[in-house]
C-alpha cells in the first residue's frame, strides 16, 4: 500500500462528523439514478478538496445515515464533485428527495484509487455493468486528460435496457479521444441498434495484447466474475486485473469492521483491489 494521505474532508476532532456540501445541480441519468453535483460550503475546503479516480465519499443525510458513494466526476475538475447515485437504500432514497440548494454531509475521499499512474503505457480495458460505470468514469476522464500516456483503450459497458445506460451523451466524446466503446443490453427495445447480451461477451470483439494490457472492472458481482475469467483466459496477469468491490461500508476508515472481506477492510484496503489480492477469498461463498 502507498503511504497514507489524509482525506481532505475529514474533521480532525471527530472523523465521523460531516462537512457540508450544497447540491448545485441534479442530472437525471436513468430510471432511479441521478447525478448530484456538490460544492462544499466551506470555501477553503471547496478549493483544497481532491480525490483520485476510484475513491468514494461517505454521503450523509441527517436522520437517515450515511452511504458510501463513489465519486464519478473528473478528478481534475476542482470546481465541483459529482456522485451518480442509484436509489436503493434508506439513505439513497432520502437523496432522491433532495433539491438543488439542499445540503448533504460529506466525508472523504476514502479508499484505494484505480492505479492510473502504474498503468501508464498499458492498453486498458474498462468493463462495467449498470451503475458500475460511475466509479470508472473518473478513470475515463483521466485517460482523456492524458490520452498520450495510455495505449489502446476499450470501454465495454452493459446495462439492463437502453434506457438504463449511464452517460450516453458522453460516448461520442470518448470515441473522439480514440477510445473504443462497445455497449450491450440485456433487453433491447425498438430503438436499440447495438448488441444484446452480457458484458464479458464484448471481450470477443477485439484482440488483446495481454502482457501489456490491464482490465478495470466494476458492476454486479456475477459480471465481475466473468470479466475476470475472460481477462485471465486472455492471459492478462492477475495483478493487472483491477476490481472495485462494494460492501456495507459504515465508517469509511477501516474501523467499524462491517466491510471486511478476509484480511481486508474494503473501505480502506479497497474498494479497488488487484485481483491477485482477492484470489483466496473471491470464490468462497458468503465470506
Amino acid at each position: 500500500m502507498t503511504t497514507f494521505i489524509k482525506p481532505s474532508a475529514v474533521h480532525e476532532a471527530q472523523p465521523m462528523a460531516p462537512h457540508w456540501a450544497d447540491v448545485v445541480e441534479i442530472v437525471h441519468e436513468a430510471e432511479g439514478i441521478s447525478t448530484y453535483w456538490l460544492k462544499f460550503q466551506d470555501k477553503n475546503l471547496a478549493e483544497t478538496y481532491s480525490f483520485l479516480p476510484g475513491q468514494f465519499n461517505m454521503v450523509y443525510i441527517p436522520g437517515y445515515g450515511e452511504a458510501a458513494i463513489s465519486i464519478s466526476s473528473d478528478a481534475e475538475d476542482r470546481t465541483r464533485i459529482g456522485h451518480t447515485i442509484r436509489f436503493v437504500g434508506n439513505v439513497t432514497r432520502a437523496v432522491s428527495r433532495l433539491k438543488v440548494g439542499d445540503a448533504v454531509g460529506i466525508r472523504g475521499p476514502f479508499g484505494t484509487p484505480w492505479p492510473m499512474v502504474e498503468l501508464e503505457g498499458h492498453d486498458i480495458t474498462i468493463a462495467a455493468g449498470g451503475i458500475g460505470l460511475a466509479p470508472l468514469r473518473p478513470a475515463i476522464y483521466h485517460i482523456m486528460n492524458h490520452r498520450e500516456r495510455y495505449g489502446k483503450v476499450h470501454i465495454l459497458y452493459g446495462a439492463r435496457t437502453p434506457n438504463d445506460m449511464l452517460y450516453p451523451e458522453e460516448y461520442a466524446l470518448w470515441k473522439e479521444n480514440d477510445i473504443h466503446v462497445a455497449t450491450t443490453v440485456d433487453r433491447a427495445d425498438d430503438t436499440w441498434k447495438g448488441s444484446v447480451g452480457v458484458v464479458p461477451m464484448l471481450f470477443y470483439r477485439y484482440r488483446m495484447d495481454a502482457p501489456k494490457s490491464a482490465v478495470l472492472t466494476c458492476g454486479p458481482e456475477i459480471m465481475i466474475r466473468f470479466v475476470i475469467f475472460e481477462g485471465l483466459a486472455r492471459r492478462v496477469p492477475a495483478d493487472h486485473i483491477y476490481v472495485s468491490l462494494e460492501r456495507n461500508m459504515k465508517c469509511g476508515q477501516g474501523s467499524c469492521g462491517h466491510c471486511q472481506l478476509g484480511p481486508y477492510f474494503i473501505c480502506k484496503d479497497g474498494p479497488v483491489f488487484r485481483f491477485d489480492q482477492l484470489e483466496d477469498f473471491f470464490n468462497v461463498e458468503e465470506f
Binding site: 436522520g63 437517515y64 434508506n90 432514497r93 432520502a94 428527495r97
Partner: protein, 257 residues
Amino acid sequence: MTTRPTLAVHKFSSCDGCQLQILNMEDEILDLAEVIDIAYFLEATRDARPGPYTISMVEGSVTTEHEVERIKKIRQESTILISIGTCATAGGIQALRNVADADEYANIVYPNPEYLSYLKEASPISEYVDVDMELWGCPVNKKQLLEVIVALLQNRRPVLPQSSVCMECKQAGTICVLVSEGVPCLGPVTQAGCGAICPANGRGCFGCFGPQDGANTDSLSDILTDIERYPGETKRLYSNISNFAPAFYEATRKLTD
C-alpha cells in the same frame, strides 16, 4: 401548517397496555400532537373521528367474528397499518387457547358461556390483513413507538434492532442470568428492543419481543432443558406471550413430542 398525517389507535383483544405506552410518552406527547393529528384514540380522547387515517396502530389479537370484520375495515381505511404489541403480532397470551380446547376454557371461566361468541383461534393481525410494520413487545417499547413515528414522518425505514436480547444485556453491563445463575432465559433467541429489562432485574427473558430472525431454538432448548428447575420449565418459557410466534410454537411442539 401543512396537513398533518392522521393517527388512529385501535384496540382488539388485549389489555390496553400498549396503548398506554403512547400515553406514557410524557416528554413527547405534546410534540406528537403537533406533528400528527390524533383522529381516533379512545383511550386518550372521546373526540373520535371516522377514517380514512394515514396511520393506524392496532393493539390486540383477533378473537371474534366481529373483530375480523373490524380489522378488514380498518385496513381499507388506513394507508399504513402497524401492529403494536405481541397480541397484535403473535396472538398474545390468549393464543394459548389455540393449542387447547377453547370451549372447555369458556366452560370453566364463565357461568354462562352460551352468551360468548368467539373464534377457535386467537390470531395475529397479519392473519387477516396485510400489515405494513410490526412492533413487538408486551408491552411495546416507548422508544420504538417513537422511532417508528419519526421514521414515518421522515419517510424512512425505522431503526429497530435485529439482534438478540443478549446484545442489550451486554451493552448495558447487565450480567447474564443464564451463565452466572443458571436461570433459564430466552434472551439468546429473542429479538432485542425491550432494553433487556427482565435480566436487569434478575429474571430470565420470556421472549415477549418474539423470536429473532433465524433463531436457533433447537440449541437453546437443549441448553435450557439441562438446567430446568422443574420439569417442563423450558416449554413453559416458550409458551408464554409469544407462544404463537412460529419459531416458539415449533420449539414448544418439539419439546412436547
